[in-house]
């Protein structure tokens, strides 16, 4: 494959991702309901002649959600009744909180059970003591920047959605108020930083995460996770690539963009409906991302011996490299850059 053709392929994937993102947002019922048009002025004028004091056309206009005349300069002050708010409330307090909550309890529990049964993935061979550079200083900076900002956002965000149900019985209204006041500030200011790190992350790791024929082996054998067999892979295996494309890129951008919309309520010309959509997209995206992040954190710490060292110091033992990323090991040994 020529470089040119590959570039085209990458652009295509990005376009597909962004399209999926947009479709997902517009599929929510919040935006779908086009305001039903109420009365025209003529209808009301006619009604006043036919049946004086019968204001049915006016009440239809009240219910329609259209903007009417008002002296108030507040946002959307001309709308008397907006129905989308109830849809948003039902979605957020209903499925998002319920299924999101279950996901955040079940995923870590499943991972812990898996670990209790299978234990840490140990190296088979003896350590050679010879080290190889796996992550450059810049890559580690980007990784830890994303990781720390993500964890801060996750803790504060989860507190905003579930704090009322989980923390309130423990610390009371005063404690929750204080905690969330600080939490919302952290969430608002760390949020844009996370967005910057996601973009940096995308460009830093893009070339190593393009799918290769060798990934087919990994998929067929489920990464050797269950039978413990050895699966050769390049610098990143298919599991890591999936985390990169779906977790970091798609969900990361989804959460960052929807978050920025809510973070700057007065900068864009956002309507309430935009905010409601952004909030639902943000919550679903963030919970899914957190669920995947549990898996990623597990593999990077408890799951595989030596994985945490590689991101901490940047270096891995040659045995580790041969056992986890064989193709990458041979490439580096052969004097190549290690990048595909």
């Amino acid at each position: 494959m020529t470089t040119h053709a590959m570039r085209g392929q990458r652009g295509g994937w990005l376009a597909v991702l962004l399209l999926a993102l947009m479709l997902w947002a517009t599929a929510l019922p919040l935006q779908a309901a086009a305001p039903q048009h109420g009365s025209t002025a003529a209808e009301q004028a006619e009604r006043q002649v036919e049946r004086p004091l019968n204001n049915a056309p006016v009440w239809r206009a009240v219910r329609s959600g259209e903007e009417h005349f008002t002296l108030s300069r507040s946002p959307e002050a001309g709308v008397l009744i907006q129905s989308e708010g109830n849809t948003w409330r039902q979605l957020r307090n209903g499925p998002v909180t319920l299924y999101g909550g279950w996901l955040l309890i079940l995923v870590p529990s499943a991972i812990l059970l898996f670990w209790l049964v299978k234990g840490t993935m140990k190296l088979h061979g003896q350590k050679t003591g010879r080290k190889m550079l796996r992550f450059s200083a810049f890559e580690r900076f980007v990784h830890w920047g994303t990781a720390i900002s993500f964890l801060l956002l996750a803790v504060t965000g989860v507190a905003i959605l579930f704090g009322k149900h989980v923390l309130l019985p423990l610390i009371g209204h005063g404690g929750l108020g204080l905690l969330l006041n600080a939490g919302k500030l952290v969430h608002n200011y760390v949020g844009p930083l996370f967005g910057v790190f996601v973009v940096l992350m995308f460009f830093a790791f893009l070339r190593d995460n393009v799918w290769r024929p060798i990934d087919a082996q990994w998929i067929r054998r489920a990464g050797g996770l269950l039978d413990g067999s050895h699966v050769p892979s390049g610098r990143f295996n298919f599991g890591e690539k999936t985390w990169f494309w779906f977790g970091v890129t798609f969900l990361g951008l989804t959460v960052a963009i929807s978050g920025l919309i809510m973070d700057f309520p007065n900068l864009g010309d956002w309507s309430r409906a935009d905010m409601q959509t952004a909030n639902i997209v943000h919550a679903i995206g963030a919970i899914l991302m957190l669920g995947l992040a549990f898996g990623h954190i597990y593999m990077g710490t408890l799951g595989a011996e030596g994985a945490y060292e590689s991101m901490k110091t940047g270096y891995v033992d040659e045995t580790w490299a041969r056992e986890h990323h064989e193709q990458w090991y041979h490439d580096v040994k052969a004097g190549k850059s290690g990048h595909p």
Partner: protein, 78 residues
Amino acid sequence: MSTGKLKSIALATLAGAALLGLSACSEVPQVTVYEQGQYRGKTDARPWEGGEFKGDRAAWEKALKERSRGQNEYNRIQ
């Protein structure tokens, strides 16, 4: 750190998370009927308690009813 120690820590974390998650099942009532003392953190004096009525609920209700009726101008014309 030994694996046994790690396992016990993991089990404790699991139990803690389960406990925290289960506490969410204790439905927090969105109190419609205001009950003094039951809704901590938002203690508020009822309108007849502080200020002019000094706890005389009947007097407060009477005063408010008078005022409400005063909004009916037909009463005033007669």
